[in-house]
């Protein structure tokens, strides 16, 4: 994965207020399955930057150094907010690099859900790097169906290929046959093929 697209964990740590840092230090000594779900009610959900809230940043930092089985496990038993945090963690270098492609089942699961927050979060740089092309195309089309703006898909436009353009064009044709509008962000891909 190209390192420049990933956030280093140190950057997240710097965003944290002191109280959250104190709790994090304590939480690192607890079992992950206890600390991870408790994080939001312990540190709060304030927005720290356009990309991060306190609970998400703390949860991501709890995953730094965790073995792949633990990461898969907290995702498996996570509520929607925990699942989102794990997906965001895959855009952080210190979590994503050691996992290599072992977190791919998480991305695939999130793409299968009908929760558009999970779908959008799944299509970050980790998916750009690891998701096979067929699955990537299907996920992009699912975004179109689920009203997830294509601008949030990290792999666009760089992973567009002729097959994806064909799928998008067929979708647009189906929409116009039904007398319905084609989403504006799809239009760009139909008129400017790669």
């Amino acid at each position: 994965m190209r390192p420049e697209v990933l956030t280093p964990a140190t950057e997240l740590e710097m965003l944290l207020p002191a109280s959250a840092r104190t709790w994090l230090a304590e939480a690192r000594r607890q079992p992950l399955e206890t600390a991870f779900p408790a994080a939001a009610r312990k540190v709060g959900r304030d927005r720290l930057s356009p990309a991060w809230t306190t609970d998400q940043a703390v949860r991501v930092l709890l995953l730094v150094g965790a073995p792949a089985t633990d990461v898969l496990d907290v995702y498996r038993y996570g509520d929607a907010a925990e699942k989102l945090a794990v997906l965001h963690a895959l855009s952080v270098a210190d979590v994503a690099h050691p996992l290599d492609d072992q977190a791919l089942p998480i991305i695939e699961d999130a793409i299968r859900t009908n929760d558009r927050r999970l779908l959008a979060a799944a299509l970050g740089p980790y998916a750009t790097h690891h998701l096979p092309q067929h699955a990537f195309r299907q996920a992009v089309l699912k975004c179109v169906f689920a009203d997830v703006p294509l601008a949030v898909v990290d792999g666009l436009p760089k992973r567009v290929d002729q097959e994806l353009i064909r799928m998008m064009s067929d979708f647009a044709a189906e929409r116009s046959a039904a007398g319905r509008d084609t989403p504006a962000d799809l239009e760009a891909y139909l008129t400017c093929p790669p």
Partner: protein
Amino acid sequence: MRIFDPHIHMTSRTTDDYAAMAAHGVQALVEPAFWLGQPRTSVGSFVDYFDALIGWEPFRASQYGIKHHCTIALNPKEANDPRCREVLEVLPRYLAKDGVVAVGEVGYDSMTPEEDEVFATQLQLAKQFELPVLVHTPHRDKAAGTTRTLAVVKESGLEPHSVVVDHLNELTVKEVADSGCWMGFSIYPDTKMDPDRMVVILQQFGTERILVNSAADWGKSDPLRTYATGQAMLAAGFTEDDVDQVLWRNPVAFYGQSQRLDLTGTEPDDTYEGNSILRGARA
């Protein structure tokens, strides 16, 4: 009228129901884990169900501006199936979740030794996770079941104010009122309680420590029975403030004991100045 339905099984309802509830003032609800009509035969079915209660269903509710929380437990009916017993081992994972505001529905169905054991175990989990408890009372042999329920709750050492004993009627309410536990009433189209009988109980017992729910599920039920009860209260001379206490502040106070209620974005009621209970719960 703002409404918090403290007991409704949204998994069984359509999006039309969500829309109608929102249009009638329902802004928050709690969906207790219970059985699904068709008995489950493995732990996996429960885990998927619990995941829906903390994942998919809150997402569905949020599309109608409704705050969704849930309670988690092994229900008494299925506690009798040894294949479902291992559910007890996964409960701690779920009781740690932000959206889980109580242990429930626990209690009795047929009052078997298996139910005794699973009920007592889960009351201890409630203590460990500092959560209130939602107790279902049996449909058959309800009065005896309620008496036994209260004895088990007392024996557990839980504070009565952290327990709601649900599905009460004219014959069981007194005993629960005297115990110090919260009194829960499920208002159904033709069984259990109806709005007018509920009003009579409110006239006798007052508006404190009482939760009114629709308990709408897979059987004949109506998710707007809470609203109908509010209307019946007003028609009988209760004030808007009384209605707000029963249909909003009481459930907020009860589930607020979990310290996990998140009611951000709900509209305040102008009959009630300042929502201090809500702020307390969010601390």
